[in-house]
């Protein structure tokens, strides 16, 4: 393994690093928004929309991201929907992550103790007030660990973007190998780059989980 080759490849990897972060960021924010909407539809048992969201969840969770990306990037243009690779990647990540986030958030809402609901009702709160002041604050806190796990999962899934030629980290490493046969060096830098993103993030999320738990609970 040559340090000179590693040094030379750093600039392209830095670019890929920021792109990976950017795609992950938009994808995760979008997934959380979709997850919130889908879980609220389910919680409030909104007719029709709830069934649509259930169908979406099934499709999203039971198909690989690879296939979802192929659809968005290669099949949608056939019916006139044409978007850039970057937009397709983010959309794919949102499509996949939305259902995972929905499950995580709904799980949290389900985890709020029944007695909490009953004591809210007992002081005369309406269903909506109960959700707003009691169930959602507690349920969202409960769902933090599952949301955090999904955040890590979604960042790793960006490596699949390589199939639609987005120059993120994995694609860049494969490119370097293909162009110069610098296999060892490229894979080494790739691993380091993911570690730089994921390890501090994972630690931060663990800290957040602990805070969330302590912040609101503990009878």
């Amino acid at each position: 393994m040559s340090w000179t080759i590693i040094q030379q490849s750093i600039p392209v990897f830095v670019q890929a690093f920021w792109l990976t972060l950017k795609l992950s960021f938009y994808g995760i924010i979008g997934a959380i928004i979709v997850g919130l909407i889908a879980s609220f539809l389910r919680y409030f048992k909104v007719p029709v929309l709830r069934q649509i969201s259930a169908a979406y969840t099934e499709i999203s969770r039971n198909t690989p991201l690879l296939i979802q990306l192929f659809f968005i990037y290669y099949a949608f243009p056939e019916i006139g929907i044409k978007i850039s690779a970057t937009a397709a990647g983010i959309s794919g990540l949102i499509f996949l992550g939305g259902s995972y986030m929905a499950e995580a958030i709904y799980g949290g809402l389900q985890g709020v103790a029944k007695i909490q609901v009953e004591s809210g009702l007992a002081i005369g709160l309406s269903r909506g007030q109960l959700a707003r002041y009691v169930v959602f604050p507690q349920g969202l806190t409960l769902s933090v660990p599952a949301i955090a796990a999904n955040v890590i999962f979604l960042i790793k899934e960006t490596s699949i973007f390589t199939v639609i030629a987005i120059p993120e980290l994995t694609n860049t490493a494969l490119d370097q190998i293909g162009l110069y046969y610098h296999t060892d060096e490229s894979l080494f830098v790739l691993v380091i780059a993911y570690a730089i993103i994921l390890i501090p993030l994972s630690l931060a999320l663990t800290w957040l989980e602990r805070r969330a738990r302590r912040g609101s609970f503990g009878n």
């Binding site: 007695i115 909490q116 009953e118 004591s119 809210g120 009702l121 007992a122 002081i123 005369g124 709160l125 309406s126 007030q129 002041y133 009691v134 604050p137 507690q138 806190t141 609101s216 609970f217 503990g218 009878n219």
Partner: protein
């Protein structure tokens, strides 16, 4: 007898095929304390929960303050401001401070002014000896403190009727006294109350009326002194003998 605050007539309740409450008839006078006694599984909790709509029932008529109760979500939501309830578990909202727990109902349900509601909340907290805990979170409190605050939270809505479902049952013995003291004061202030308890000495002291329930049937509904001195049914006699007090 004064006008009854609550009248229950021919209430029947079952879960599927299991019949829980049989032909419950109950009269609760304004300003009186009714203690609901009976072995575990006799339906005490179910009955008390039927009285503020946390459980539905198959048939029967409730009359509150002379008004027949139509059991639907809207009616119950209104009535729950007048019928307070405190549960066995300390059920404060862990995401809110003590004061916010208490003010949630008065502000969001009754739309009262913050200044006025807060003044009352502080006064009630003083009465239960917890005026210094306004800004604490429930996790920082002991079980007994939480339970007293749960009582204050219910009282903050100025209810006409209070339901207490075994409110001391999961407290440490030394915490029980403080909570019973709060109930005793309420009784002295002529709050109408229905109390489920296993604290027999307390029951004897506080009960204007005892309702003895077994297997979903009311076996006795008699004045408190009479029940403890001279229970009418053999079953109640056995129950009293089995209790260590």
């Amino acid at each position: 007898m004064a006008t009854p605050l609550l009248q229950v007539e021919h209430l029947e309740k079952s879960y599927g095929d299991v019949h829980i409450l049989h032909d419950i008839n109950l009269t609760i006078a304004t300003g009186s304390v009714t203690v609901l006694l009976g072995p575990s599984g006799s339906g005490k909790s179910t009955l008390i929960r039927c009285l503020n709509g946390l459980e539905d029932f198959q048939s029967g008529q409730l009359t509150f303050s002379g008004q027949p109760v139509t059991p639907n979500a809207k009616t119950w939501q209104q009535l729950r401001q007048k019928i307070g309830m405190v549960f066995q578990s300390y059920d404060l909202f862990p995401n809110l401070t003590v004061l916010d727990n208490i003010l949630l109902g008065p502000l969001k349900v009754q739309h009262r002014s913050k200044a006025e509601a807060q003044e009352q909340a502080v006064k009630l907290l003083k009465e239960v000896g917890l005026a210094d805990y306004q800004d604490a979170y429930p996790r920082q409190l002991s079980g007994g403190q939480k339970q007293r605050i749960a009582i204050v939270r219910a009282l903050a809505l100025n209810p006409e009727f209070m339901l207490f479902d075994e409110v001391t049952a999961s407290l440490d013995p030394e915490m029980v006294r403080g909570v019973l003291e709060v109930l005793r004061n309420l009784a002295q202030q002529k709050m109408t109350m229905l109390v489920v308890t296993h604290e027999m000495n307390f029951a004897r002291e506080i009960a204007d009326q005892v309702v003895f329930l077994e297997e979903g049937h009311i076996l006795e509904q008699t004045p408190g002194q009479q029940f403890f001195a001279n229970p009418q049914t053999e079953r109640a006699q056995i129950f009293l003998n089995s209790m260590d007090f």
